[in-house]
């Protein structure tokens, strides 16, 4: 059995080690991230990318500036359409609201379309604790639910698994005959899920964007499971983070365009399901009851703390696909519902319980590939820098780092100390290097993290400044001789 139990509560270092030593994970990451990044680049290159990004960014900034008004406008319109709107301050509030809705409607079985915001608050666990059956219906989510794993990517939750692993899971959990044919594997899931849709009492989905002016909740999917979750069961509940708003229909389609191209490289998704309320008189289908639950869970605090720019995020996952760190370690190593660069930025701010959350802002080389790919131009490297400053100011940085940086700063503030340290360093490192053929192969303490895998050059025997001054002296003496 190739399956490994994934424990997000392990320390950051262990999670990273586990990821780096997992050969199958590395194959899965290699296969998927590059392909998704390539598809995004092609889809964006086909249009006027900069204009689209500017427009979406402007729209999202407008939303954040007018958030209270727009949310109330959305509430008014959803209510006018016959739906119910609930406000959940924290994750536990959302759990309670959902359980209440389900109990009142006498719900036994819940089908769910893919939703990161419900992962964020561990909704499945809460509903199951209340005695309900919860079935994930997005294929990727269904697979990881069978395997008992959290999603590892915002858009592609099972990106960490190869087709071989998925086949194993299906054979073990569903008695599927051995096969590596994706179509056969899909059809097994399809057959099971179809029955679940027809027997479910309640559908739950997230919300890619809600249109304030019409009170319409939109979900963007490719499998049709979103459409069935939102139309077949008696009760349909949409859970959305308060920032997932578009003021007008035009704005919604702007965001839709950016989302499809950036996430999967599609011009448009296979399905776009828009729900404006429960079934109306004369409608042939649709839910009898419609609820919209708005979740804060730390988002307002993010605005207050100066990290509001991250709320422009439309959860396309483009920054994950291009991130060289994500490509090496995958999503679970981040230990949070949200991984990759955007996860490293929002996980410390959103109310999530993440082990070693303060290590996440450091899980980046600040290479800037994420900012380049982001359809809303979020300056992720700058926010990571500011989060690192927060970690230091909150005295959460390791003592060694603090001592090293204070020493470094003192040394660099004086030419004398700098030059003296340089001379001593040159002497010491050259003795050290001469013992191992010119390069330093071993360094003590935390610096061993470098030399475990890489050589380090010794300091120069004579620094640039020494050579420069010697050169100047020579020139002056030549000049004097010429005058003679």
């Amino acid at each position: 059995m190739t399956l490994s139990t994934i424990d997000l509560t392990l320390p950051y270092k262990t999670r990273v080690q586990d990821a780096l030593s997992n050969k199958h994970l590395r194959v899965a990451l290699e296969r998927s991230t590059g392909r998704m990044a390539g598809q995004r680049a092609a889809a964006m290159a086909a249009i006027d990318e900069q204009t689209l990004r500017d427009q979406v960014r402007q729209m999202k900034e407008h939303v954040l500036r007018n958030l209270p008004d727009l949310l109330e406008q959305l509430e008014r319109n959803v209510t006018a359409n016959g739906g119910h709107v609930h406000w959940a301050k924290e994750g536990v509030d959302l759990q309670r609201i959902l359980v209440d809705i389900a109990r009142k409607a006498n719900v036994q079985k819940v089908v769910k379309a893919k939703s990161m915001v419900t992962e964020e608050v561990h909704l499945n666990q809460a509903l199951q604790n209340a005695g309900m059956t919860v079935v994930e219906t997005d294929l990727g989510e269904y697979i990881i639910q069978l395997a008992g794993e959290p999603p590892s990517h915002i858009v592609a939750p099972v990106l960490h698994r190869r087709v071989e692993d998925i086949s194993d899971i299906f054979q073990r959990e569903l008695d599927m005959p051995p096969t590596l044919d994706p179509q056969v594997i899909c059809s097994v899931a399809r057959g099971i899920l179809r029955k679940e849709f027809l027997s479910a009492d309640m559908g739950v989905s997230g919300c890619n964007f809600a249109i304030a002016e019409t009170g319409t909740c939109c979900i963007v999917t490719n499998e049709g499971n979103g459409r069935m979750s939102s139309t077949l069961p008696r009760v349909y509940v949409v859970v959305m983070g308060i920032e997932k708003l578009a003021p007008t229909i035009e704005d919604a389609f702007l965001q839709y365009q950016a989302l499809c191209r950036s996430s999967t490289g599609q011009q448009c998704s296979v399905y776009l399901s828009m729900t404006s309320g429960p079934r109306q008189l004369g409608d042939t289908d649709g839910p009898e009851e419609f609820h919209l639950v708005l979740l804060d869970n730390g988002r307002v605090d993010m605005l207050a703390k100066g990290y509001g720019e991250a709320l422009c995020c439309i959860r396309c996952g483009a920054c994950l696909n291009v991130c060289p760190v994500y490509r090496e370690i995958g999503g679970h190593a981040y230990g949070s519902t949200y991984s990759g660069p955007i996860g490293a930025v929002i996980s410390p701010s959103i109310h999530l319980e993440v082990t070693d959350v303060n290590k996440l802002p450091y899980a980046s080389t600040l290479c800037g590939a994420c900012r380049e790919a982001c359809p809303v131009k979020i300056d992720l490297p700058r926010m990571l820098l500011e989060l690192r400053r927060d970690v230091v100011e909150e005295h959460d940085a390791p003592l060694f780092d603090r001592a090293a940086m204070q020493g470094f700063s003192q040394m660099m503030q004086s030419r004398f100390r700098y030059e003296t340290a340089g001379k001593l360093g040159s002497l010491g490192s050259n003795i050290f290097a001469s013992m191992s053929g010119g390069n330093i192969k071993f360094m003590p303490g935390p610096l061993a993290a470098w030399t475990n895998s890489r050589d380090f050059p010794p300091l120069a025997k004579r620094s640039f400044r020494e050579l420069w001054h010697e050169r100047q002296r020579q020139r002056q003496s030549i000049g004097k001789e010429m005058k003679k």
Binding site: V16, P324, E328, F408, P457, L459, E466, W468
Partner: protein, 285 residues
């Protein structure tokens, strides 16, 4: 960022911001930089008070420790430009140029006086290849390199400063060199300052991807514009026993790169890829 300083007449004199890594570890890169500039009629001044721009502390979140270094840097270089003693500041590093000309504004956001001086200085601060190509209008420097030459685009240089065309233009004019494009040339090498220590294993994995691509390119040397990436890439190449080396572009442009001789057999098999790329072929198809 403020628009770059424009020059009506070619700049005569610059202050060299040599960077602490070049000063202490790679002085030959500093000398090559001076030679390139002087050869094109630019007088070089070296303010010897300079130490480090403070980037390591800033990147690690220790802004209180980085701020005195930023102010110190501004106090050394800004008066030279303001009084007209030099026309510009030039550094042989994309990363250190980014620090002083982009991130000082963020680091000193709450210090309006120094922030304004930082922005004034930023407009007159240039990375070496940017200065050669955009300001001096030089692409052909009379360099010669016999062998295969590749280029690694350092992250800050490429994505913060937007410099890519300039080093490539300079390299394309190097006589006798066969230019080979590196797979993923614009991908990070995994250095990232303290990242290389704090996340040593991830950093190594990223670097191995880079050296794997270097091996596949069959280059004799990989030119780049930052000695920090150079130290990282060479640290891996040397540990892996590869013959290719990363070299600073100034060394290439002043003919200071010796190519290690190729192994005897003409059809040398490339080293086998690390196990985790065993899937590469399946990927490519």
């Amino acid at each position: 960022m403020a628009p770059k300083k424009q020059f009506d007449t070619p700049p005569k004199r610059i202050a060299l911001f040599v960077t602490c890594m070049v000063d202490m570890i790679y002085p030959e890169v500093g000398l090559a930089t001076v030679e390139l500039l002087e050869r094109h009629g630019v007088e070089v001044l070296f303010p010897a008070e300079q130490t480090c721009c403070g980037q390591p502390a800033f990147n690690a979140g220790f802004w209180d420790e980085a701020q005195p270094l930023a102010r110190r840097f501004i106090d050394i270089f800004e008066p030279l430009v303001r009084r007209g003693q030099v026309d510009a500041v030039v550094a042989p590093s994309g990363s250190c140029t980014t620090m002083t000309s982009h991130f000082y504004a963020l680091l000193l956001a709450e210090d309006p006086g120094y922030r304004a001086r930082a922005e004034f200085l930023a407009a007159a601060t240039f990375e070496l290849t940017e200065f050669l190509v955009d300001v001096l209008g030089v692409e052909e420097v009379g360099a010669r390199f016999e062998g295969k030459l590749a280029y690694h685009a350092s992250c800050h240089l490429l994505r913060e400063l937007g410099i890519d065309r300039q080093p490539r233009a300079l390299l394309s004019r190097v006589e006798a060199a066969e230019f080979v494009e590196l797979n993923g040339a614009e991908e990070c090498c995994g250095f990232g300052g303290l990242f290389a220590i704090k996340n040593g294993d991830i950093s190594t994995a990223m670097g191995q991807r880079k050296t794997h691509n270097i091996a596949k390119s069959d280059a004799d040397a990989v030119a780049l514009c930052d000695v920090s990436c150079m130290a990282h890439i060479n640290g891996l190449l040397s540990r892996e026993g590869q013959r290719c080396r990363a070299v600073h572009i100034a060394q290439v442009l002043t003919n200071q790169v010796d190519v290690a001789p190729r192994p005897r057999q003409t059809q040398a098999a490339p080293p086998p890829p690390p196990r985790r790329w065993q899937d590469d072929k399946a990927n490519a198809s």
